[in-house]
Every structure is written in structure tokens, then in C-alpha cells.
């Protein structure tokens, strides 16, 4: 309650107050819009994914007639083939493909990203950092379609096909390409984790007579381990979600893929299957095949969502620690 009449000046005029409230409201709505995006993603993905599964479980006569084959939930785990146009929905074809590509990608991005992060954080002088860091930043800025071209026209013929007897499209080349895309992300999160280790730990270690390598390996890296694990998880999440490289290089084009556990063969991943199906959408496809797009999308979303939440928790914990 303002008693002093002069103090009322500070309250401002009612129009000025209304303006303040309005501005706050506008920014609040903008922030709330981000929630709406999530709700829209979850809503559309799950609504249609559940619809897809329900149709498989409980098909109407019209559905069966459209599909041309009997429908049942067994379709999601049999046939060893992903080909929605022919009502083949073996999801393990795509999940195993995604796992292979992600594993190869992390074999590339894990050591290279971590090594670069340790060098930048522990060894490089601030001058050197200024020159070296942009390498990773530029690499991070290269669109994935460009890496896809590189994987198909350089990595596959010049590296993979020289070492192994395989077709130009294979899961290995795709995994290597995805790995290149993941390096900058892993490096940047790892570097943050290493740099957040307090200097007193390094000084204590040096004071005990440990050399730089011993300090780095036995003191700094263990102290940052939760952040490094988070970097790995985010890297995995990014690799699973990468689309264009796998779409063009893995060989799952034409919207059909055979089950394979061999990285030298053609295969497909969840993301590539989605792109592949969508790019053929001008053709007439059955409703049930269209639903499979959202089903795969929902599986992909849940996977990356869980990984991101996990990484986020770990990162918060180590931030609190130091």
C-alpha cells in the first residue's frame, strides 16, 4: 500500500503498467509455444503410431483388402524384411541397422572426439586453441547431405571397397560417414566436461610429481568421467537420428530392406526407412503403410528422448559437483 503521494509516481500510469504486463505475456506465450511443439510431436506421432498398431492387431475387412495380405501383430517381428509397400513391417530390420550404424559411428567419433577434446582442454595453448577449435566448428557446420556425398563418393570407393569386397552402398560406409558428423558434438561436450574440472586437482597432481600424461589420465579424465559419458550418450542419440547419410549410403533406398547383421551388406535404419518411404510418397501407398512411417518415428523419438534425458541428468550432476 503506497501512502506517500510522491511514491505513486513510481507506480507509473495504468497504461504503462498495462504495457508491461502485455510485454511479459507475449514473451511468456513465446516460451509456452515450445511446449506446444513437444505436445504436437508426441500427439501426432503416438496418435498415428497407436492407430497403426491397432490396425495390425484388429484389422477391419477393408484394411485387409487394401493391404492384400492378412494383418496381424506378428508382422512387426517376422519376415526379416522392411517393405511397407508390400506390407512387410519387420521392425528389427531397422533397429539392428540403426544399432550397426551407431556402433560404427561411435567407434569413429568416440576416440577421435575424446582425443581432440583432451588435446584442446589439456595441451593446446590458448593461441593454438584459437586456430584448432574452428576446425571442429567448421566440421560441425557441414550439412549432413554433404557428408553423405563424401561417404558415397570417397569413403566407400576409396576406403571401404579397397579393404572389403562389397557394393558401393553398405552399412559400414554409412556408419563411418555418420561418425564424421558426430565427432564435433562429442568433442565439444567432452571438452566442456574436461574444462570444468577445477585446476586445483591438476595442480595437486603435479605437486605430487605426476607428469602431464599421468595427471590427464589418472586425475582429470576420471574427474570428468560423468561428462564424458554424457558426451557419448548425446553422440549415440545424434548418430541414431542422422538421416541423410544413411538414406543415401546404406542402400535401403526404394523403401525396402532385408534384415542383416553384416555391416558390409546393404541395410536400412529407422531414419533412412522414414526418408525412403516419404520420398516415394507421390506413389499410391496403402493407409497402413503410411501409418508405419509414424510408428517408426515414434520408436525413434522415444529412443532419442530417453538418451537425451539420461545425458541431461548426468551433465547436471557434474555441473553441481564442481
Amino acid at each position: 500500500m503506497l501512502v506517500d503521494p510522491d511514491a505513486r509516481i513510481l507506480e507509473g500510469t495504468s497504461s504503462r503498467r498495462a504495457k508491461e504486463v502485455a510485454i511479459k505475456l507475449v514473451t511468456q506465450i513465446a516460451a509456452a509455444l515450445s511446449l506446444l511443439v513437444t505436445i504436437a510431436i508426441i500427439g501426432t506421432l503416438f496418435y498415428r503410431a497407436i492407430d497403426f498398431v491397432a490396425t495390425l492387431a484388429n484389422p477391419s475387412e477393408a484394411d485387409v483388402e487394401n493391404a492384400g495380405v492378412p494383418l496381424s501383430l506378428d508382422l512387426l517381428w517376422s519376415n526379416g524384411q522392411w517393405a511397407p509397400r508390400f506390407t512387410r513391417f519387420d521392425i528389427k530390420t531397422l533397429v539392428v541397422g540403426s544399432l550397426i550404424v551407431t556402433a560404427i559411428a561411435m567407434m569413429v567419433a568416440g576416440p577421435l572426439g575424446l582425443g581432440a577434446a583432451i588435446y584442446l582442454s589439456e595441451y593446446a595453448s590458448s593461441r593454438a586453441r584459437r586456430f584448432l577449435k574452428p576446425i571442429l566448428e567448421v566440421l560441425a557446420g557441414i550439412p549432413s547431405i554433404v557428408i553423405a556425398f563424401f561417404a558415397l563418393r570417397f569413403i566407400s570407393p576409396q576406403i571401404v571397397q579397397r579393404l572389403f569386397d562389397t557394393a558401393s552402398q553398405n552399412l559400414l560406409a554409412a556408419g563411418l560417414g555418420v561418425g564424421l558428423l558426430t565427432i564435433p558434438l562429442v568433442a565439444s561436450i567432452s571438452e566442456d566436461a574436461l574444462r570444468s574440472v577445477p585446476n586445483s586437482l591438476r595442480e595437486a597432481s603435479a605437486g605430487m610429481g605426476a607428469r602431464k600424461m599421468r595427471t590427464t589420465l589418472s586425475v582429470v579424465t576420471p574427474a570428468a568421467v560423468s561428462g564424458l559419458v554424457a558426451a557419448g550418450i548425446v553422440g549415440v542419440s545424434r548418430a541414431i537420428g542422422e538421416t541423410m547419410v544413411v538414406f543415401l549410403v546404406a542402400g535401403g533406398g526404394g523403401n525396402s530392406a532385408q534384415f542383416t547383421a553384416n555391416p558390409l551388406e546393404k541395410g536400412s535404419t529407422m531414419t533412412a526407412a522414414m526418408a525412403s518411404q516419404a520420398s516415394g510418397s507421390d506413389n499410391i501407398i496403402t493407409e497402413i503403410a503410411a501409418g508405419s512411417l509414424y510408428f517408426v518415428g515414434a520408436v525413434l523419438f522415444v529412443t532419442t528422448f530417453l538418451l537425451n534425458i539420461l545425458a541431461d541428468r548426468i551433465v547436471r550432476r557434474y555441473r553441481e559437483k564442481y
Binding site: 557446420g141 554433404v146 537420428g241 518415428g297
Partner: protein, 325 residues
């Protein structure tokens, strides 16, 4: 005390002293340490090498085409022959998608960042928004494509453009999809820039009687502008390089309808393609004769995307120099 025997004998002590002294005075190289350091350095060199090979591959690959017909490559649209095909429709699509991102993602993202940093108190709703934004930034881009397909494409089916012809798969649907995709990144980078504004600056402005909105407009935004601008440009560059969401939303990789000019807004209601889609089409063609087109289109896309990246960094440096000067 008589019971205590010395822990180390004089002989051992002398030997240790000698070894420490040798270590300190020796010039011998610490090989394990050096090898470790160089191996770490090589991981960085590897990334650099990949970059160089990549750039060399596309630049040498595009050289024959650029030296022969750079003009027609930029101004021609879709044709079935590699000798006459150009990227004009891709450039036009990318231009309008960029406009959509600038018009929707930038204002909404920056406003959301202002709310989160300046207005939001620590309650469950604001915490939820924060967690949500971080998670959105990690959602695969192809999933945004599904969102665009389910929401924007169906929304614009019949509202903008001719429904039977476009099926809602219009430039604006693609542009809005990529705007939504860049939104979390814009919010996160803008939030960081606003958080970095020193508190005394706010207090000083409040102290002379400014209202909250005046403080934001006259002090916080100008101070945070370089950071906001850099982050926004980077997210724009990322959005323009995305192909996966556009495939799902239904960008065309082949023949397109009537040819409008580059700056004709009616393109927003038409079916569309974009540079990453054009490249996808070129890369996917089996014949050897399409390679130079793919390389040339990549060089153009890289010029745009890396150009934005460089511009962002340069502008940030310039702003910072100005503030200190």
C-alpha cells in the same frame, strides 16, 4: 627415541636423492608423454584432413561445370538432361525457407529467451519449459519432418495454394517445419547471451527508474545482441542445410510447376524444392555425368552455410571489439 629405527637406510636415501637429482638435471625426453601428446594432436589433424579432402573433392569435382556454364547452372531449373539442368528452383526454395526461419523462429525464440531469463521465476512450469527446450534440441530432424507433415501440410492443404495440386506440400509448410526445428537452438543460444549480461547493468537501469521492458529494450538486448545474432545465424545455417525434414514434408526432387521469380512470394503457396533436396537428387542419380552437378550444388550450399558461419563469428568479434573500444 631409541626404539625407532630409521624408515629408510642412509644408503637408500642417498640413492633416491641421486635419482631425483638425475631426473631434474637430465635433458632426456619424456617419450611416453610426447607420444601421448602427439596422438591426441593427430585426432585433431584427422578432422582437419577429412575437411580438406572433402573440400578438395567437391571443389575439383565442380570445377569443370563452373568453368563451362556457371550462369546457366544458377538460372536453369529442372530438366531431364544433366547438360542443361540447374539449381535455380533449389536456390529459390532455400531463400524462402530462410525467410520463414527468420520471420518465425527468430522473434519467437528471442522472446522466449527473454521470458526465461528475465521474467521466469523458479516454478514447475518454467522448469518444464527449460527441460523441454533442451530435449527438443536433441530430437532428430527427421522427426520434425513428421510434425511438419502431420500439422503444417494438413493445415495448409486447401488454405494456401491450390489444394488438389500441392496437397499442402508447399514452401511455407517446409519453411515452418525448419523454423520449428531451429526454435530450440535459437532459444538456447539467445538465453546464454542474455544470461551473460552483467547484473549491475540491469540494476543501474532500474535505479534510474526504467521499467522492466525498458531495461530489456535499452540495456539487455543491445548488450546481448552479438551473442543472440551469432546464435541465430548459426541456427539459420543449420536449418538451410537440412534435407531430411524436407523429404518427409514432401519437397520435390524432380519436376516442379510454374517457374516464378526468385523473390516472388507466391512461391510460398507452391510446391517446392531446396538446395539440400537438389543435391540429394543429384547424388542419388546413378550416372557419372551427374557427379559434377552434385559437386557444384554442394559448393553453392557450402558457400551459403559456411558463409553464414563465418559471418556470425566475424560479426561477434566486431561487436565485442566495439564494446571494449
Amino acid at each position: 627415541m631409541a626404539f625407532v629405527s630409521p624408515i629408510v637406510s642412509d644408503k637408500t636415501r642417498e640413492r633416491t636423492r641421486q635419482r631425483v637429482q638425475d631426473q631434474l638435471e637430465s635433458n632426456s625426453k619424456d617419450w611416453a608423454n610426447s607420444i601421448f601428446k602427439w596422438m591426441l594432436f593427430l585426432t585433431l589433424v584427422f578432422s582437419l584432413l577429412v575437411l580438406m579432402i572433402l573440400l578438395a573433392t567437391v571443389i575439383t569435382g565442380s570445377y569443370p561445370l563452373f568453368s563451362e556454364r556457371i550462369g546457366s547452372f544458377l538460372s536453369n531449373g529442372f530438366t531431364t538432361k544433366s547438360a542443361t539442368r540447374g539449381v535455380f528452383q533449389g536456390l529459390r526454395g532455400t531463400f524462402w525457407i530462410g525467410i520463414c526461419v527468420i520471420c518465425f523462429a527468430f522473434p519467437v525464440g528471442i522472446a522466449a529467451a527473454i521470458y526465461l531469463e528475465e521474467y521466469a521465476t523458479d516454478n514447475w512450469f518454467n522448469r518444464l519449459i527449460n527441460i523441454n527446450i533442451r530435449n527438443l534440441a536433441g530430437v532428430p530432424s527427421v522427426v520434425y519432418g513428421l510434425l511438419g507433415l502431420a500439422v503444417f501440410v494438413e493445415l495448409f492443404d486447401g488454405v494456401v495454394g491450390v489444394p488438389t495440386k500441392t496437397l499442402g506440400r508447399t514452401t511455407i509448410a517446409g519453411g515452418l517445419t525448419l523454423a520449428v526445428l531451429s526454435l530450440p537452438v535459437v532459444i538456447i543460444t539467445a538465453s546464454e547471451a542474455i544470461r551473460a549480461v552483467p547484473t549491475p547493468l540491469r540494476q543501474a537501469a532500474f535505479g534510474v527508474g526504467a521499467t522492466k521492458s525498458q531495461v530489456i529494450r535499452s540495456h539487455i538486448l543491445p548488450h546481448a545482441a552479438p551473442g543472440i545474432f551469432t546464435g541465430s545465424l548459426l541456427s539459420l545455417a543449420r536449418a538451410l542445410g537440412e534435407a531430411a525434414p524436407l523429404i518427409v514434408v514432401g519437397a520435390v526432387s524432380g519436376r516442379l510447376g510454374p517457374t516464378t521469380g526468385l523473390f516472388d512470394p507466391s512461391q510460398l503457396g507452391e510446391r517446392f524444392t531446396a538446395m539440400p533436396m537438389v543435391i540429394t537428387a543429384f547424388v542419388g542419380q546413378p550416372g557419372e555425368q551427374w557427379r559434377p552437378l552434385a559437386s557444384a550444388a554442394i559448393v553453392i550450399l557450402l558457400l551459403v552455410v559456411l558463409g553464414f558461419n563465418v559471418a556470425a563469428v566475424l560479426l561477434r568479434n566486431r561487436f565485442e571489439a566495439k564494446r571494449e573500444g
